[in-house]
């Protein structure tokens, strides 16, 4: 922990970065994102198992960009988001410095995208055993049951788009829901619009999502959106042997193909 603070202080002092985006104590037992500009404030920084939020989401926000070069206190999925954003030409080699703490509790300074690539290589192939198990639970349900399940979930959707705001990869300057010529997604929060919105959201993250789970955590009505993402993550891995957020130069699953991609449903 001290190492983290010292490194942050060092960087701020030396003006290597103008800003450190990290975690600090929130209300109660929660942690929250903190933006440290002044070396004096580094004491508030912390990093532990509660730090799950994907802070990469802030990197592309104009107001944050204005603050100057940022250092990011990053967990594994944050690092993967950084790589994915690099792969999508949203950040360059020198736009960000990242700090992380490895499972052994040591502070790692990952100052290049390459360094991040080497580090994230430790992450699980596609989904964890538990995640796989849960996913299979739903896949095993009958079609009608799945329909009922999701209808019930979506019936709570408010179209507040918190899932979109929390997602480090939903950075479009104009989301398709804001198109009205034509109006792809109906504005009101009725079941049809909610379904279409959620299908679109999931599809737009296909082959890109780094599985941080912030969409679900942000959802005020607790829709298990992560299930949709994980379904696609496992399909992308199984069908195309691809994983997002592992390399800064990777080509995207849906913008590439293999002539021998396998499927069993096209007649």
């Amino acid at each position: 922990m001290e190492a983290l603070k010292n490194k942050a202080r060092e960087w701020l002092d030396s003006r290597m970065v103008q800003l450190v985006i990290g975690y600090s104590q929130g209300s109660g037992d929660s942690v929250r994102a903190v933006f440290v500009h002044d070396p004096g404030q580094v004491e508030t920084l912390l990093f532990d198992s509660r730090c799950r939020q994907n802070l990469a989401v802030y990197l592309l926000k104009p107001e944050v960009k204005k603050m100057g070069k940022a250092a990011l206190v990053a967990n594994l999925t944050t690092l993967r988001a950084v790589l994915q954003l690099a792969a999508e030409n949203q950040i360059g080699e020198h736009d960000v410095l990242t700090l992380t703490v490895n499972p052994a509790g040591e502070l790692l300074v990952l100052s290049t995208l390459e360094a991040i690539e080497t580090y994230v290589a430790i992450s699980a192939p596609d989904l964890s055993v538990e995640e796989k198990a849960e996913l299979e639970k739903y896949e095993k349900l009958g079609m009608e049951e799945r329909w009922q399940f999701w209808q019930e979930q979506f019936s709570r959707c408010l179209k507040c788009y918190a899932c979109r705001a929390a997602c480090p990869l939903c950075y479009c300057s104009r989301c398709t829901v804001e198109c009205n010529q034509p109006q792809w997604i109906p504005v009101p929060a009725h079941d049809l619009g909610n379904l279409e919105w959620n299908v679109m959201r999931a599809m737009h993250l296909a082959g890109r999502c780094v599985n941080c789970g912030d969409c679900s955590r942000a959802c005020p009505v607790n829709i298990p959106l992560y299930l949709l993402n994980q379904k696609l993550i496992s399909d992308v891995f199984r069908n195309f042997n691809a994983r997002s957020g592992m390399a800064a130069k990777a080509e995207n699953t849906l913008s590439t193909f293999k002539p021998n991609d396998k499927e069993d449903f096209i007649r």
Partner: protein
């Protein structure tokens, strides 16, 4: 009340399947009139959102068809489309949307007979499945 007549929309590419369907016509093969074709330059152009829109507007079934692999007029549009379909279909299924209502197919400009047969079997399958009741419910909740 007469027998249920499904509404089926076919999203096809201009170079292979559309031409194949033309051949069905010139060879005077007969098929069910419940299917209407919308023409696209390439399967690569077919946006999954359009399939949702078709269901939202009362389609009971959908056909998506283009050039066979390696035959694409644009060399790789159908390969890109295939990847999208693989993921999209998996997602719909996961959400409990009956993927038996979407028929994917490769039909070349020479396969007029295959087109007729595809349309008829699809129409028959959808007729068996009946109206898309689940979606019907959603639809009543508002225009789209």
């Amino acid at each position: 009340m007469s027998e249920f007549q499904p509404k089926i929309v076919a999203f096809v590419c201009n170079w292979c399947t559309y031409a194949g369907a033309d051949l069905t016509g010139t060879s005077r093969m007969k098929y069910s009139p419940q299917v209407s074709i919308i023409r696209f330059p390439c399967t690569g152009r077919i946006d999954f959102m359009l399939l949702l829109k078709a269901f939202a507007n009362g389609a009971d079934g959908i056909i998506v068809s283009g050039c066979h692999p390696n035959d694409c007029h644009y060399t790789s549009g159908n390969f890109h489309a295939r990847r999208r379909w693989i993921l999209f279909r998996g997602l719909l299924d996961f959400m409990g949307i009956d993927t038996r209502r979407i028929e994917f197919s490769w039909i070349s400009a020479a396969e007029g007979a295959k087109w007729a047969q595809l349309v008829n079997t699809t129409a028959e399958n959808i007729r068996k499945l009946g109206p898309f009741a689940n979606y019907e419910k959603l639809r009543h909740q508002g225009v789209s």
